[in-house]
Assembly symmetry: C2
Homo-oligomer: 210 residues x 2
């Protein structure tokens, strides 16, 4: 079994394009720049992509599915905890994901307008699904009397706003590590719900063990 050291050209194109779209925006990025970033001439691009729009769709496509999968997985892994444990697990993964894949999530939010109607609708629907998923966690914590919910949708908007903003500026090696960012913003989110700070709070699993 041979190890594949050579980089897949199509992936190199997507990665280069993602960075360019992040820095300059989709419309302001030319395929000549994308080709250049991948060490190609523009004509050669079309051996790997169908069109510029399709390239954007490829980049934006998986990001929300990945997000839902990752956050859903984190919540599943927190099974057995109370409703705030679940929400906290979701928030931590939500923030982690947005920071780790900052460029893609930023593009996913900023370039919705650049997608043709059909593709855009698909993405919008997925985002609505994701927000509804978070909303249910918030509502549950409120119903359980563990969180002081002002308006579940607005709380979710707040989480989304924070994470989207982070995706715009976070870079490894900055003033805060990824772990610090996650801890700080999770605390902020829980404070908005008048839940005791994450660091102070003892989850149900730990309580049961004590």
């Amino acid at each position: 079994m041979t190890v594949r050291v050579e980089r897949n050209t199509a992936q190199a194109i997507r990665e280069g394009a993602a960075q360019l779209f992040f820095e300059r925006g989709y419309d302001a990025t030319t395929l000549r720049q994308v080709a250049s970033a991948a060490g190609l001439k523009v004509g050669s691009l079309y051996n790997h992509i169908d069109s510029k729009e399709h390239l954007l769709l490829q980049i934006m496509g998986g990001i929300i599915d990945d997000l839902l999968e990752r956050v859903g997985g984190a919540v599943a892994a927190a099974e057995g905890g109370d409703s705030v444990d679940l929400l906290q697990a979701a928030l931590a993964e939500h923030i982690t994901f947005h920071a780790e894949r900052a460029q893609e999530t930023f593009i996913g939010n900023a370039e919705l307008r650049s997608l043709p109607q059909d593709s855009r609708d698909v993405v919008i629907r997925k985002r609505a699904d994701y927000e509804l998923f978070l909303e249910k966690l918030v509502t549950a914590a409120g119903k359980d009397g563990l969180a002081d919910v002002i308006d579940a949708k607005i709380h979710v908007y707040s989480f989304v706003a924070q994470a989207t903003h982070i995706a715009g500026w976070f870079k490894p090696g900055g003033r805060f590590t990824l772990e610090e960012i996650v801890r700080i913003y999770t605390r902020l989110a829980l404070r908005e719900l008048k839940v005791a700070d994450a660091d102070e709070r003892v989850g149900k699993a730990k309580r049961d063990a004590a």
Copy 2:
């Protein structure tokens, strides 16, 4: 003295352009669309603007100055209150401004990349000034023992993220009135600082009067 009923053409162009830039983005908007929105043909635009870039600069130009002026004014009007009163006044105006002038503030945040370097630097510096202004209010409230500050810069990032997000979706006639939005998001912001909810809190002026 005659009342000028006729609309200024240059202003009509800026307003139409702002709406188009908000809806479709700067790069995706053509000057033919801008001209059409103002009831003109594309050639006539150049009697009122220098270039497309300059038009964007005009639209983005005043918005941060206006923001700093409005929020600064609100803080000045709250003089005599304690440090949380001042912060609360700033937050309420901060949110109000972003909701009232949603399209312009959204453009101001989203289209920074579309500005040439020089203009961009000017805008970035003004934003830094504004954020520093808010940061000082947060720090002061912390020093006074009235707020539990995790990190002043992050708290300001949070305020900016929330307001920017609001500017992306708020429209009059929606689920919440402007006043409700302001009240909710001010409460969220103060909760992040572990300050008693705005509605519960009695400002220093009222306390003195009692």
